[in-house]
Symmetry: C2
Subunit: 314 residues, 2 copies
């Protein structure tokens, strides 16, 4: 199975309003709730791809209960999605996306998340170590909730490496910087996260710099331009056949699912990248934010362009 | 005891954000949750005034559970606040106030509320009829949730009158128009609600018109200018000693609590109005939206100016 870790899970709310007018009162005309947090999104895509997946991380309070109920009620896929979230006393956070029906624009509000105690962190470490025993790969995803030390991802990366489980780290800021030093197999920063980490906005330079900081492979997501992969085996650039318009929410999480499933299946780098780019593009095209359009995915997969850089370019 | 009815209860969320910027992402820096809906707010003020109060209406789903838990956890007052909410299968709504910490401005998002079935409405009518047997006064408060017929308040007003319990109706639009026709003892519209009902923005004319439509007494709230009362016993105007600055959220609910407690205690009209104006002014002054500042209330009470209109002016 594949394991995803979401330390700061979220109940993702979406409100539609006729038009967003600051400092006025709005009638919410449409409302949806779904289980969220990056690792949960990655897990949904993995199960849709046919990989049995286990999610861990924290859930607590009334919002945590709703999140777990929604997780249990997700439509059945070819593979299983197992809830191994660790209970916490605090309330799981909500994230709220307010969609302006007139323009389609989204305004986002993110709660901080529960304060996690030292005992709860210890319980997570125990559950994680146990789950690693049967994991083919693990993804560590998203922000840290309050109370968790900034080196937490470093600790989780080291445990995975000791257990011999390939590990992908998808976070940002100081948790990313500290996590990289523990030498994860893969990181998947976007341009902003790379620039924050390395100080450079030049993709190849920044990606190589990130690799020198400890990550074995760095897959930089370049938004609509695809991905740049700097790995021990070479450097590749993968691009979708044409730019697409749509909602980019969740495209990064789909890319993580593509890379992680490819890692678990021991695919070649070009095949992993094809899958990641096709999945993230098919996510932008899907009508519901965070889902992917399966027909589009299957059509895109053979059409992703892969360009290998000169030997030694890494 | 005093009974308040809130057909569309709400979990009131407040988010503080550093500054509201449409179409961007916001970190919620402070978060509060409280049990809401007009009748619940009225009940909080009534218990703080020393009146045992029972709340009924609907609550359901995960949000309804949180609301009832918060209601049970309210700080103890001199009097009891009893939860007699009727369960529904749908989810109690949330309301969200986003407060811009830079300017203090609030942007409001209101969910619609659960769809109430015919059986659930019948259950409410049964519970309400039972509660009326021991009620000294009843307030019917706020909007109707989806599924409830627009004449619902008319039905509740008639049941109260049959049971000999004085009834105050605080709603707006068509539910107010239909409710008035059933001859409630009191209504407490603000200027917008009065204008919507009568087509007039001239306070005395509009208030008299509202009375002719069926309400025995009409207490028009004039915001910072106080209140205008047109009653079977005369016409009064009540004004705070000076205009105040603060958050007007909940000031109308505090006024309802003042009027209803005065009705239950058989106070004179001037004393009821003094209490209502002092309470609503003390609510504007309170640091937390919807609470009232007790010291300010006690200082304001003897200083509210009451002016009686010429005999026959009603």
């Amino acid at each position: 199975m594949i394991l995803t870790v979401t330390l700061n899970t979220a109940l993702d709310l979406t409100y539609s309003v006729p038009a967003l007018v600051p400092h006025s009162s709005h009638r919410v005309t449409d409302l949806s709730e779904r289980p969220g947090g990056k690792g949960l999104n990655v897990a949904r895509v993995l199960t849709a791809l046919g990989h049995d997946t286990v999610v861990t991380g924290f859930a607590g309070g009334a919002t945590g209960t709703v999140l777990r109920d929604l997780l249990a009620a997700l439509p059945r896929q070819k593979a299983t999605l197992t809830d191994a979230l660790v209970p916490v006393s605090g309330d799981t956070r909500r994230t709220l996306a307010v969609v302006d029906a007139a323009t389609g624009d989204t305004t986002q509000f993110n709660e901080a998340g529960p304060h996690v105690t030292a005992d709860e962190w210890t319980a997570l470490l125990g559950a994680y170590a146990e789950l690693l025993k049967t994991a083919d790969a693990v993804a560590l995803c998203g922000s840290l909730p309050p109370g968790i030390h900034v080196g937490a991802y470093g600790e989780l990366v080291r445990l995975a490496r000791t257990a011999g489980v390939p590990v992908l780290l998808d976070t940002s800021g100081e948790p990313l910087r500290r996590g990289i030093a523990a030498r994860p197999d893969l990181i998947k920063p976007n341009a902003d996260e790379l620039a924050q980490l390395t100080g450079s906005r030049e993709p190849l330079r920044a990606t190589r710099d990130a690799r020198r900081r400890g990550a074995h492979g760095v897959i930089a997501s370049l938004g609509p331009d695809g991905m740049l992969a700097v790995t021990p085996d070479g450097v590749w650039r993968a691009s979708p056949p044409a730019p697409v318009k749509g909602n980019p929410t969740g495209a990064g999480d789909s890319a993580v699912a593509g890379l992680l499933s490819g890692l678990a299946e021991s695919l070649s780098w070009p095949d992993r990248l094809r899958r990641a780019v096709a999945l993230s593009t098919a996510t932008v095209l899907a009508p519901t934010a965070g889902d992917f359009d399966r027909t589009a995915y299957e059509e895109l997969l053979p059409r992703v362009a892969i360009e290998e850089h000169a030997a030694g370019a890494a």
